[in-house]
């Protein structure tokens, strides 16, 4: 009796999602899978079915076996709700989690992964140089022997959330603190495979499929072709993860990276590794206020060439961390930031030798003093233990803010932190900082700001005290989107646009370019099935 009910229930769900009824890959989205309706943005969606393919062939089967919307998911650590479904089917790639090949070319190493490999696992494998080599070909095994004999290698993209999948990171062109030196995810992807919504497979290798001006012709593995007419649009000269990568004569690979799960399903990525820098030091430099921090970061950017990361923490962020620290628990072991100053800049130095790092560190001290700080008020990490302390310090800031919001959610369950992800070009940060501070103070918000000051990219977090403030925060974000656009910046620099920032993308690129981007999508996905709601909001309204 129960079995019959389950079969009918499953069929109903599958029918609603337009799935092949007999295919066991499709699971009804019932209570046990409810977590897959949410992501780290704390947004909840809806779906009828879900699948966990393990191979590219199964991804094809899922896409061919569904007719309605398909939302692609990795580890659901995104902050822009790109992985939150709006009905239909969820294609969760977390079980495609194998490293499938390793290559060495001219002393450089390249690792090929399925999209569900989690960043933390890749780092661990590279550190221990231990891989599950089942199914590896002989060149991969030979490359592994070379890797074991070589100095330690690392993958430089370092988002705060290390449980992110590499596929998700490619989908939003993720970055992190070290992108200041090494660039975002895009720069390190040398090849990928992806399945189009109609089941065709694309295999792209960097440099092998280039646009002619604004025309792009991609050849699928079955010999069929995809023609893409790129909109005539100039991307901002700032760190950018807003909408499609578009440039004359561009590499087709770059279009797929950062496409927010809207063009095709990435099934394999080849990533270039870098040799671990022999000397890695960090320094947290305290300065009197926000503008001294901007001045300090600009001078470090100009003068300390071995800087790999340049991060910012404002007084709100440090105050919240200090408060959490005083309560004891895991944060009690951290140095008290408020004993050292109100605002801080973190600089990470990647050097070939200790003497270079020493000279750079002493220069940081001079620049800190020139910006109005006191170099006695700094924390230097030169040992593994101290590096771990500073890493913990940096990651503790967002955690403490999230805890504060969780406390407030006891009274207002729908309350959430509202965090910006906007960047501006070099030279414009001081003006944008003025705008942030003036508008935040005018409206009486509680806020905490941190982020990648070296890339002129700050996460301004409004911490609403009630639902009214929560609503007002959205209006202020739209205002900032206009200001950032006026300054030539980007509305999303690293999180991707997803669903939450779709209205800002239109502010940034204009309706005409957005329509042009939608035409790009239609070339890959004519029925607009993939990643519904991402980038374009309600895409059908745009047509």
């Amino acid at each position: 009796m129960e079995t019959a009910f389950f079969v009918r229930y499953t069929e109903r769900k599958k029918q609603k999602a337009g799935c092949l009824l007999q295919d066991r890959l499709f699971l009804p989205l019932d209570g046990q899978y409810a977590q897959y309706l949410r992501d780290e943005s704390r947004t909840t969606g809806k779906a009828e079915t879900i699948s966990f393919p393990r191979t590219e062939q199964q991804v094809r089967r899922v896409l061919l076996g569904t007719q309605g919307p398909v939302t692609v998911q990795g580890a659901r650590t995104g902050l822009a709700a790109a992985a939150v479904p709006q009905g239909g089917h969820i294609l969760n790639l977390s079980q495609m989690d194998r490293v499938t090949a390793l290559r060495e070319e001219n002393g450089r190493f390249f690792v090929t992964v399925q999209p569900g490999v989690v960043l933390m696992r890749l780092r661990r494998m590279l550190h221990t140089r231990e891989f599950d080599t089942r199914g590896w070909d002989e060149p991969s095994l030979a490359a592994l022997r070379s890797l074991k004999a070589a100095g330690e290698q690392f993958f430089p993209t370092d988002p705060t959330e290390t449980t992110a999948t590499l596929g998700g990171m490619a989908a939003c062109n993720a970055s992190g603190a070290r992108s200041f030196r090494y660039g975002a995810m895009r720069r390190h992807v040398t090849a990928l495979r992806a399945v189009l919504p109609d089941g065709r497979v694309l295999s792209l290798r960097r440099g092998q499929c280039m646009a002619q001006g604004l025309s792009l012709r991609l050849v699928c593995e079955d010999g069929s072709e995809v023609y893409v007419s790129l909109p005539d649009y100039r991307m901002p000269r700032a760190k950018n993860a807003s909408g499609y990568f578009i440039a004359p004569d561009m590499d087709a690979l770059d279009l797929l990276i950062g496409s927010d799960g809207t063009l095709a399903v990435i099934t394999e990525l080849t990533l270039a590794l870098l040799p671990q820098p022999p000397v890695l030091w960090g320094a947290l430099l305290f300065v009197p206020d926000e503008h001294s921090a901007v001045r300090l970061s600009e001078s470090i950017r100009r003068e300390v060439s071995c800087t790999a990361a340049l991060e910012y923490f404002d007084r709100g962020a440090l105050r919240i961390l200090s408060r959490s620290r005083a309560r004891g628990g895991v944060f009690a072991s951290l140095p008290d930031p408020q004993a050292l100053g109100s605002t801080a800049v973190y600089a990470e130095l990647h050097c070939r030798e200790a003497a270079e790092a020493q000279a750079a560190l002493l220069r940081l001290g001079e620049l800190q003093r020139a910006a109005g700080g006191d170099s006695a008020r700094s924390l230097v990490a030169r040992t593994e233990t101290d590096r771990e302390t500073l890493t913990f310090f940096r990651h503790a800031v967002p955690e403490c803010v999230n805890s504060l919001i969780d406390e407030r959610r006891a009274r207002f369950p729908s309350l959430s932190k509202r965090g910006s992800d906007m960047s501006v070009p070099d030279g414009a940060l001081s003006e944008m900082m003025d705008i942030y501070l003036r508008t935040l103070r005018e409206q009486g918000f509680e806020y905490a700001v941190w982020g990648h000051i070296g890339d002129n990219h700050l996460h301004v977090n409004i911490l609403p005290r009630d639902m009214q403030e929560h609503a007002r925060a959205s209006q202020l974000f739209a205002q900032w989107a206009h200001e950032v656009t006026r300054l030539g910046g980007a509305v999303s620099a690293e999180h991707g646009v997803g669903k939450l920032k779709a209205p800002f993308l239109e502010i940034m690129v204009g309706r005409g370019t957005l329509r042009g981007m939608l035409r790009v999508k239609q070339a890959f996905d004519p029925h607009l099935r993939l990643g519904c709601g991402n980038l374009f909001g309600n895409a059908k309204e745009l047509l």
Partner: protein, 254 residues
């Protein structure tokens, strides 16, 4: 209060490897760090100096590269350092080490308080502190986790096999300390700059006035007959969710 901290350089704990032939720790190529328990001793000393004034000195015995560790102690706030370094000191057991350290203490002058980590993470003997106090003829309390200064004495709390105990120790004294006394503070840029200008004083066996027969291997009655690496207990794997767990269980059962 003038305080001396005894510090040992050890391989970074995540990277301890044994030479399969000799059974001794391979120190080449490993990141060398201050013994973590000694870093808690340094932090305790710096905290006491903040309250009572005085100086913090750091004494070590080891290869010349240990000077970097001592400079790092200066970067964190230590005032002076001494390194006992000589081939004659090599291969010392705890008896020969405590003999050399006692000469280092004499060379540095008198101290009100000597702090050692409860043990070194490479040897795990926990003998140096008590042996050094015996040689210096001063009281010793082991595994101290709280220190409260009084006139000419300290009231300390320490771990015992039965629990904890509070005792009053007249000064001068030697304490071995636990991690509860504080995470070592991080250096500032000014501290690092100071440490770069700091000259680590070194003493050879002869300069320390040591009897070579009591140093290093010759002065060590302990003989290590053999060592063996413990067998691993298998590796743990972290899974992202219940779905992965089910898949893995299915694979195991099949």
């Amino acid at each position: 209060m003038n305080i001396l901290v005894c510090a040992k350089q050890v391989p970074s704990s995540g990277e301890v490897r044994l030479d399969p032939d000799t059974g001794t720790i391979i120190r080449d190529g490993c990141e060398a760090v201050i013994n973590p328990f000694d870093s808690h001793a340094l932090e305790a000393a710096l905290c006491l100096r903040e309250r009572l004034g005085g100086t913090v000195s750091v004494l070590s015995m080891g290869i010349p590269a240990c000077a970097d560790m001592l400079r790092d102690c200066v970067a964190r706030g230590a005032d002076q350092t001494l390194l006992l370094t000589d081939r004659a000191f090599a291969g010392a057991d705890t008896l020969a080490t405590s003999y050399a350290l006692s000469l280092g203490v004499s060379a540095l002058g008198g101290f009100d308080l000597i702090l050692c980590g409860r043990m070194a993470v490479d040897g795990d003997t926990a003998q140096i502190g008590p042996e050094l106090s015996e040689r210096l003829g001063i009281p010793c309390v082991c595994d101290v986790f709280a220190i409260e200064p009084q006139q000419d004495a300290l009231v300390v709390r320490h771990e015992t096999d039965e629990g904890t105990e509070q005792v009053r120790v007249p000064l001068p004294a030697l304490l071995t300390v636990t991690r509860e006394l504080g995470v070592p503070r991080m250096p500032s840029i000014d501290g690092v700059a100071r440490s770069l200008r700091h000259d680590v004083r070194t003493l050879s066996c002869a300069e320390a006035g040591a009897d070579p027969e009591k140093c290093g291997l010759s002065g060590s009655p302990t003989q290590v007959l053999s060592t063996a690496a413990p067998q691993g207990r298998g590796r743990a794997q972290t899974l992202a969710d219940a779905g992965q767990l089910c898949t893995l269980l299915r694979e195991v059962l099949e």
